[in-house]
């Protein structure tokens, strides 16, 4: 479950460098897809950097109302000491937007990690053992999956914090609410893979040798069923940001004195808009859009690169056998791409848009 093992593939003996999921895809991509991937990585990188260095970059604290010159004042237009103005509550918009990145990242990490562990465990057990437990879990997860995630997150937020949040309580409430929404996704993917893999010959031989169930599950099945995880990971991260903002917007977020949260700020900006005050909503909103955009661009690119039908095409489509192989091992070194070896790593000059229609 460590990062490098996500891309572990049958063709072993590759350097650690090429086994890190995103790096590999970056080298595999060409042209437009590479552009989208890089753009996504850059935006996400900025997002992470801002989150880490928020205390250094931001001129004020997220809950700071006054400085040496006195109170900030509410709804001050951008300019002067407050380059993005101040909110209706008298906070500095610029500082709160920067600090908000930190909250978002923490929530992403907590929620995605929790759901990965819970979802993988349930999926493995369910898929590997089968039986009535499997059936029950599948029906439950399908039911949860069909439910509007925001409503579920609201219910969870009520359960966890009674709808009112304090410092870390708020962050965890949001993260766990999002976790519950995500578990079915990991569960379904891992379960489907486990069901497929447990029929493989090497699982059978492991059984013959006398390996225990847990060893087979975690060593043989899990290792081979993680191919889609980086993809779901990125897509979930972006959804986590959106769900957090949605919760905040509906008033289930984190109190402004505990942490900065973009959705909460947008909620407070709702009435500002009517009087033409744009800066309190524009900047936190753009922060959400940019954060989600960056992560989604990475996720989309990973998705396309994992799917041979969508991968940037060169010359002619490959044969079915080749397609099957590449789609099973998206993180592996491509010994044969859809169009053969040509330009997989380097890219063909003018390869894009110059394909010949049959």
């Amino acid at each position: 479950m460590t990062e490098p093992s996500l891309a572990t593939t049958p063709t072993a003996k590759r350097s650690i460098w090429s086994r890190i999921p995103v790096i590999h895809q970056l080298r595999q991509s060409v042209g437009l897809q590479r552009g989208m991937l890089i753009a996504g990585l850059v935006i996400t990188g900025i997002f992470v950097l801002v989150a880490i260095f928020a205390p250094v970059i931001s001129p004020y604290g997220y809950a700071q109302l006054s400085d040496a010159h006195g109170q900030f004042g509410a709804q001050q237009a951008p300019g002067g000491a407050h380059i993005w103005g101040t909110t209706v509550g008298g906070f500095d918009v610029y500082s709160r937007v920067l600090w908000g990145a930190q909250t978002a990242i923490v929530v992403i990490i907590v929620s995605v990690l929790l759901s990965i562990f819970a979802g993988i465990f349930l999926g493995l057990v369910s898929g590997y053992f089968g039986g009535w437990l499997d059936r029950v879990l599948v029906v439950v997860c399908d039911a949860i999956y069909a439910f509007p995630s925001l409503l579920l997150a609201i219910v969870m937020a009520i359960v966890i914090s009674g709808g009112q949040s304090s410092l870390w309580g708020g962050i965890f409430a949001a993260a766990i609410s999002i976790t519950v929404v995500f578990i079915p996704q990991y569960f379904r993917v891992i379960r489907a893979e486990a069901v497929r893999i447990k029929a493989e010959a090497y699982v059978e031989s492991a059984k013959v040798v006398g390996a225990s169930n847990s060893r087979i599950m975690f060593r043989h099945v899990l290792r081979n069923s993680t191919r889609t995880l980086p993809l779901i990971f990125t897509l979930n991260s972006s959804e986590a940001v959106l769900t957090l903002a949605g919760l905040g917007f509906l008033g289930f977020g984190i109190e402004p004195t505990s942490a900065s949260e973009w959705g909460y700020d947008l909620n407070k900006a709702l009435s500002d808009v009517t009087s033409g005050i744009w800066w309190t909503s524009l900047f936190p909103g753009l922060a959400i859009v940019l954060g989600v955009l960056g992560i989604t661009l990475v996720g989309e690119s990973l998705n396309d690169l994992a799917d041979p039908r969508l991968r940037g095409r060169r010359a002619v489509a490959g044969t079915a056998g080749v397609v099957a192989e590449t789609s099973v091992v998206p993180g592996g070194t491509l010994t044969a791409g859809p169009g053969g070896l040509g330009g997989l790593e380097g890219g063909i000059p003018g390869g894009y848009g110059s394909e010949v229609r049959p």
Binding site: F147, P148, S238, L270, L293, A324, V328, P358
Partner: protein, 370 residues
């Protein structure tokens, strides 16, 4: 980290990783057909509804009883206990659960604490507004998403495709409430073209309330009044919320149409149609698009959930007095009986809608029902 021993055999599952939602595998499913499929699907929604209702009950009640949540701190402990006893919340939880299930089964989802209305009545009153909003949003999503998706597929990997894909991601990445705020700011405040919030202006609402049989769906009611000014008023109120919510779904449709049309464009019958001299536009619009529609219809079922979640946010942004607006109102009043009832009932609605969509998909595509 040891190396993994055996390579995955190349002949396994070439398709994308999405596990089939609908395809309940049945061995040797040559016969049976549609009737059998419908029966299986009907049997499947019962546990779904049961699980969701149970889940909501367990989660909401694990916080304690609703009366303490709503009134705690405002009443003395003795008064609270008296109220709790009167409402039956001091009985064992499983007794309450079975009572709740029994009531839910007969369509009684409880009575709101704050304004003493049956939850079903709340749903009937405000559901029409949400339905109307969802309908407008779907129109926007179809009109924007499907043609653009075809364009993106045709110009695959070229400039237009890249632009449209970023547009689709932006649609997804922009929270509906932020999109709503921006639209309000630009079109209502700065340009002053469209109303800021609400479903209709007060005079129009009054005119529609005097109708002999108001439906609650304002567009229909507006037509009933026969006054074009009222129709225009209702429509102008709907534009911004519909765009805010519709764009969210439009992005999904765009991506979906693009992926599927790319798939069908590379099939042999498209090649053969092209060699017969069928025009490129016709090729995309008829030959490639029609078969690509099937997966789109099944996904619409899943979109209902997204749409409802988005509706909660959109309605709050635009003060559109529908279910989501009302749900947030009850949440803020800490009226958890109402919240529990509404969420449970919404779960039922979603399960039923998904069922209908699945049936439609099966009617269109025989492959679905195996």
């Amino acid at each position: 980290m040891s190396s993994v021993t055996t390579p995955l055999s190349p002949d396994t599952v070439p398709g994308p990783a999405e596990p089939g939602r609908l395809q309940k595998r049945k061995q040797g499913g040559s016969g049976g057909g549609l009737a059998r499929y419908i029966v299986v699907r009907v049997l499947l929604i019962i546990p779904t509804i049961f699980i969701l209702v149970t889940l909501v009950f367990v989660l909401m009640r694990s916080t304690g009883d609703p009366i303490t949540a709503a009134l705690g701190g405002r009443l003395s402990a003795a008064q609270l206990a008296e109220r709790i006893h009167a409402a039956g919340y001091d009985r064992p939880l499983y007794v309450q659960y079975f009572e709740y299930l029994g009531h839910a089964f007969t369509g009684d989802f409880g009575t709101t604490l704050s304004d003493n209305q049956p939850v079903v009545q709340v749903l009937l009153t405000y559901g029409s507004a949400t339905l109307e909003l969802a309908f407008y949003a779907l129109i926007v999503a179809f009109v924007v998403g499907i043609p653009l998706g075809m364009v993106a597929a045709y110009y695959r990997d070229k400039g237009r495709d890249a632009f449209l894909r970023v547009f689709a991601i932006l649609c997804y990445a922009t929270p509906v409430f932020f999109a709503g705020l921006l639209l309000k700011l630009v079109f209502s405040i700065w340009l002053n073209w469209l109303p800021v919030a609400g479903r209709a202006s007060t005079s129009a609402e009054l005119a529609m309330q005097t109708l002999p049989s108001p439906t609650g769906i304002y567009l229909i009611d507006a037509f009933q009044t026969g006054d074009p000014a009222i129709v225009g008023d209702v429509l102008s109120h709907a534009v911004l919320p519909a765009i805010a919510l519709g764009l969210l779904t439009a992005g999904v449709f765009l991506r979906l149409v693009r992926t599927n049309v790319i798939g069908t464009l590379s099939t042999e019958y498209v090649d053969s149609a092209r060699s017969r001299g069928v025009s490129e536009i016709r090729l995309v619009r008829k030959h490639a698009y029609r078969p690509a529609l099937i997966p789109i219809i099944t996904v619409i079922g899943l979109q209902i959930a997204l749409l409802l979640g988005g509706a909660v946010l959109t309605e709050t942004t635009f003060e559109w007095k529908g279910l989501g607006f009302q749900l947030v109102h009850y949440l803020q009043a800490r009226d958890f009986v109402a919240v529990q009832g509404m969420v449970a009932l919404l779960a039922v609605i979603i399960a039923v809608t998904n069922f209908i969509v699945d049936i439609i998909a099966a009617l269109i595509d025989p492959r679905v029902r195996y």
